[in-house]
Every structure is written in structure tokens, then in C-alpha cells.
């Protein structure tokens, strides 16, 4: 059905994983399991009416946020769109603070005033949580501009979907980022569908990374279902941004398993069950698990242990969110202006 090709799978025998990096691999696996279980529980809570509004789940795309964020420093800046529970969690915002925000509680990371689409954690330089498609691409360039202005080597990373590559803000920003040599990393999470519109029906260019040609910007197309590929590609982009102050456009070929939001059916009229099942064969968690097991770096007991840990953390977060207080009614009028 889709004319879009995925990033080429490795040809021939792949290199064995580096055993000295076992801790890193386990951590990446644990974080992907964490995101997936968190999103499954968020989906359940939404179905129970405990989460309101729009709720966009990240299931299927875990490798993109987990792999790329692992390549950053804590003082780098991170901006995301509205499908951003994972980015906040991986950045280190607690499961409790994120789940409580989805529940609209006072203990949420935005005090219950932001919701699923507006998660913020300034202490971790997680700068949102933006729900107008493409609007945060210039914001991320602004943080990159600040790094250059102050002479620091912090980079600014922006996550957006492939549909945002058609909006003016994307093009205006990439031009200025390249023109001014801003240390920005623009990560396009190409999950093939802008809501229900397939990429081929919305863009004459299928390879989003090619958009970089117009701006003489470095670019890479990455298998967004391969967490290690995401990690390595982002490391290259970070190096380019820190050392040379040059921006990069990274296109991550990924896929979402759920509907656009919890309000939508899983496949709807715009894609088939068969396509969905086929894509699930690229599953990022199963993929990393298989590779680690094949290379003798993970056994069933260790995997079960990782799962057990994240399950406990997410279940604790749900209980915390349920028990947390609603915002004080007086909060309605606070935070409109800074005193």
C-alpha cells in the first residue's frame, strides 16, 4: 500500500554488539519498556474516563525518543510536539509527574494546567509539549540561538512528525538555522501518517531528509525502529552541533501502532490491519531483545526483571495520579502573568 520505503535493513551478517556496552543496552531496553507500559496504562485510564481531552500515544515509536535522547547531556534543550509523553519520561520527568499531569492533577509536571499535550519540566530542560503542528520548530531554534549567543555548547533538539515538514515554520526555521549555524537537531518522526493522511498524499517528497538539500543542511535517514541506530545517528548530529555549530535534519522512519489519538480507531479507513501487522514485525522492543539474546547479552530472567521494574513504577504512578488532589480553584487565575 505504501510507496514509502523503510530505511534499508542491514545487509548480510551484522556485527556483534559490544559486550562492554551491556549496561547501556539494558538501559535503552528498560526505557522502551517503560514508555510502552506507561502508554498502555495511559490508554486504559483514558478509556476509563480518568484522562480527558486528546491523548496521543507513542506505542511503536519508542526507539526514536529513547535512542536519540540517550545521546544528549542534561543541559541540552528538548522540544516536542503533542505526542510527547515518552520524551518527558526519557528526559527524566518522573512517571508520577507525567501521569498526574494526564489526570489533570495538581501534582502533575504542569500543575494540571497543561495536560497530555503540554508537558513541561524546566529543571530538566524539557521545554514542552506544543500542540500546534510545527510551531515548536522555531522555538527549538531559539534555544539553539541562545546557546550560540551565550557561547555555550548546549544543543537543542526538536521532535516533530513528518506532516510538520509541510508547514511554513519548518522551512523558515531550517533556513535560519543553517544560515546562522545554530546547534539544532531537527528529528522528524516519520510515522507515515499525519492523522489519517498518508505521507504520499500530503507531500511530493517522500524522503523527508531530502528537504535538507534546500538549506544545505546535513541530514540522515535512520531506521526509527532501531534504538541503536537512533542513538548513533543522534550522536553524530550532536557532535556536529557542538563542535561545528551546524544543524542536522534526522528523519526517523517509524510507525505508530495506535490511532492518531485515543479518540481514533487503531487503523480506521486510512490504513489496513495487514499493514499494521506487517509494521509490528519491526517492533523496536522485540528487535533489541532479540539482538541482545542472540549475542548473549540478555536472558529471560533479566528481561523479566526489567519488565517488573517498569511495571511497578508505572502502577505506582497511576495510583499516585489517582490519589493526588485536584488543583486548587484559585489556580485558575495564577500563572497568567509573571509578577
Amino acid at each position: 500500500m505504501s510507496a514509502v520505503k523503510d530505511a534499508a535493513p542491514p545487509v548480510g551478517a551484522r556485527a556483534k554488539l559490544d559486550a562492554s556496552r551491556r549496561a547501556l543496552y539494558h538501559d535503552l531496553l528498560r526505557q522502551m519498556l517503560h514508555v510502552r507500559y506507561f502508554e498502555e496504562k495511559a490508554g486504559e485510564a483514558y478509556a476509563q474516563g480518568k484522562i480527558g481531552g486528546f491523548c496521543h500515544l507513542y506505542i511503536g515509536q519508542e526507539a526514536v525518543a529513547v535512542g536519540s535522547l540517550a545521546a544528549l547531556r542534561p543541559d541540552d534543550y528538548v522540544f516536542a510536539g503533542y505526542r510527547e509523553h515518552a520524551h518527558a519520561l526519557v528526559r527524566g520527568t518522573t512517571s508520577r509527574a507525567v501521569m498526574a499531569e494526564l489526570f489533570g492533577k495538581a501534582t502533575g509536571c504542569s500543575k494540571g494546567k497543561g495536560g497530555s499535550m503540554h508537558l513541561f519540566d524546566a529543571a530538566r530542560n524539557f521545554l514542552g509539549g506544543h500542540a500546534i503542528v510545527g510551531s515548536h520548530i522555531p522555538l527549538a531554534a531559539g534555544a539553539a540561538f541562545a546557546s550560540k549567543y551565550r557561547g555555550t555548547d548546549q544543543v537543542s533538539v526538536c521532535y516533530f512528525g513528518e506532516a510538520a515538514a509541510n508547514i511554513g515554520a519548518f522551512h523558515e526555521t531550517l533556513n535560519m538555522a543553517a544560515l546562522w549555524r545554530l546547534p539544532g537537531i531537527f528529528i522528524c518522526e516519520n510515522n507515515r501518517y499525519g492523522m489519517g493522511t498518508a505521507l504520499e498524499r500530503a507531500s511530493v517528497v517522500y524522503d523527508i531528509s531530502q528537504r535538507s538539500c534546500s538549506y544545505h543542511m546535513a541530514a540522515e535517514t535512520v531506521d526509527g525502529m532501531d534504538v541503536l541506530a537512533m542513538y548513533e545517528a543522534t550522536r553524530r548530529a550532536v557532535e556536529r552541533a557542538r563542535a561545528e555549530r551546524l544543524p542536522t535534519l534526522l528523519e526517523a522512519r517509524t510507525y505508530r501502532y495506535m490511532g492518531h489519538s485515543m479518540a481514533d480507531p487503531i487503523h480506521g479507513h486510512y490504513r489496513t490491519k495487514e499493514e499494521l501487522e506487517e509494521q509490528k514485525q519491526r517492533d523496536p522492543i522485540a528487535g533489541l531483545r532479540a539482538r541482545l539474546e542472540e549475542d548473549g547479552l540478555l536472558d529471560d530472567a533479566q528481561y523479566a526483571e526489567l519488565e517488573k521494574g517498569v511495571h511497578a513504577e508505572v502502577e505506582d504512578a497511576v495510583a499516585f495520579a489517582e490519589q493526588s488532589p485536584e488543583p486548587d480553584p484559585a489556580e485558575l487565575y495564577t500563572d497568567v502573568y509573571k509578577a
Partner: protein, 327 residues
Amino acid sequence: MPVLTYRDALNHALREEMERDPDVFLMGEEVGVYQGAYKVSRGLLQQFGDRRVIDTPIAELGFAGIGVGAAMVGLRPVIEFMTWNFALLAIDEVVNSAAKMLYMSGGQIPIPIVFRGPGGAALQLGAQHSQAFESWLANVPGLKVVAPATPYDAKGLLKSAIRDDNPVIFLEGEMLYNNKGEIPEGEYTVPLGLADVKRAGTDVTIVCHSKTVATAEKAARQLAGEHGLEAEVVDLRTIRPLDTETLLASVRKTNRCVIVEEGWPFCGVGAQVVDEIQRHAFDDLDAPVERVTGADVPMPYNKLLERAAKPSVDAVIGAARRAAYVD
């Protein structure tokens, strides 16, 4: 006291604030090499260099958003729109990003930014280059909206706007740049949110801001000289937050009110002022509140039609006479 133009008063405010605070920078179209489309930024590139005076491509949405992003991480950008007409291209970043960031982040991320540039009608520039957006922008919680009338206020208010920790919309009068006024030596600021009684009077209050302050003052002189009416001219200076205290004190004294603005009448600034007056000073009113606005049409090019579309001294005099039951 030195006399400066409105343009140079703004220039001095920018220069002084950039000297005072290294986090302040100016970004926009033609602000550097060209020295500003209206020469407000004259000399700043030479003094501060291209790190702090940044020429942009014609990409309002993009550079407005870059400014907001820089403010999110603690810089204090001044974003110049060549005119506010072009800022419509950037309105998503002004409204959805700048105005709402503090609230939707639960108070974590203030946006200390100034969006500034000329607004209102100039002369024969036609429909797309002649409009006043005060009421659009003042509608949005999270924004402050400032529109100075004099060089003194322009300098003092811009300095306050740059020091404010919130997004401030700074509307300069395109026709005011050459106006001259006295500016004190040395440091001063004018606080945001305070109206100014530009002329004291007892018979009718004329509420105005920006370019219409001169219209109101001229009307007040004629009302005194030819019509036997002493008008009090209240310059709002800041549209949001609105200084209802000064406004109501004047209306309670004169019991009559005329509101003058360049913008369109429907949902205009005057509509908000009328609401404040009828709710808080109903018993003090001796006559319905009058409004003088721009005509409810896109601005025409023809000189005579354009003149008819703008609030005039005669229209203000007529409204004041109606409010005072002279006619």
C-alpha cells in the same frame, strides 16, 4: 531639557537597555545594516555588533518563534516587526506560544520578550498596510499591550517593556516617528499599566491612546476655545492591563465620556472601556458614552476616502458636544 523625536526616543531606550543588560538583543527585518525600516535602530549594529542586532530573512513566523524560544531559556529578545501588518504571519507564535507558555507550563517558563513595530494607518498605504490591532492583541490573556503617544512615554514605556518578564506587545504609531518632545537627561522609566491625564478638564473625558491622543488634544483646545467645554484627555498608554482607576476617576469627575481610537469599532478597545464605565460608574454618567473610531471598512487608498475613514478632530468635537448635550 533635550528634545528628541519619538523615533530617537525609542532608539535611546533600546540603546540604554542593551547597554544595561547583555541578555537583551534586537532581531528583525532590516534592523541592522539598513538601520531599521523606520530608522528606530539607527547606530545599534555599529555599537553592539551583529551578535546582538540580527537581520532576518522575511520570515515573521520563524523569527518570532526563534525569539520566543530564546526567551524560554532566559534571554530577553526585542523582536521588531517592520509593521504590525506583517505580524499576522507570526500570530501563532505570539498567541499560542508566547502568551500561553507560562500558564500551560504551570508557571515554570516565563517569556520575557517584546514584540514591537509600527501600527495604525500612515498615509495612502491602502488596506493591507493601514490597520490598528490593539483590540485583537489585548484580547489575549498573557499579553501586555502598550501604545505610547509621545516621545517621553515611548522611551519610558519601552524600557519598562524590555524589563518586564512577560510578552509585551509594543505598538508604535507609524505617523508619530517624527514627532518631537522633551526627554529628561538620565535614567527614567514609565510603568506599564498606568494611564496619563494629558490635559485636565471638568466637562467631558476624552479617552485615547497612540496617534489619537493628538486628535483628542486638538479637539480639547477647540472645545475650550470655541464651544465652552473643558475636556479632560486621558491617554491610556497601556491597553492591557487597563488602568481603570484613572479612567473611572476622570469619568466620575466629568460625568461624560468620549472614546477615540484608530481601530475598527466592532469589539474595539472602546467597547471594553465602555463596559468598565457602565459597570463601575453607571450612576456617575449624565449621558451615553460616545465612541469615535476608524470607519468599519478596509482602509481605502484615495486621499479623501482615507481621511473620512480616520477618526477626526471634528468627529471628536461632535461626539463631545453630544455627550455634553450641547447639540
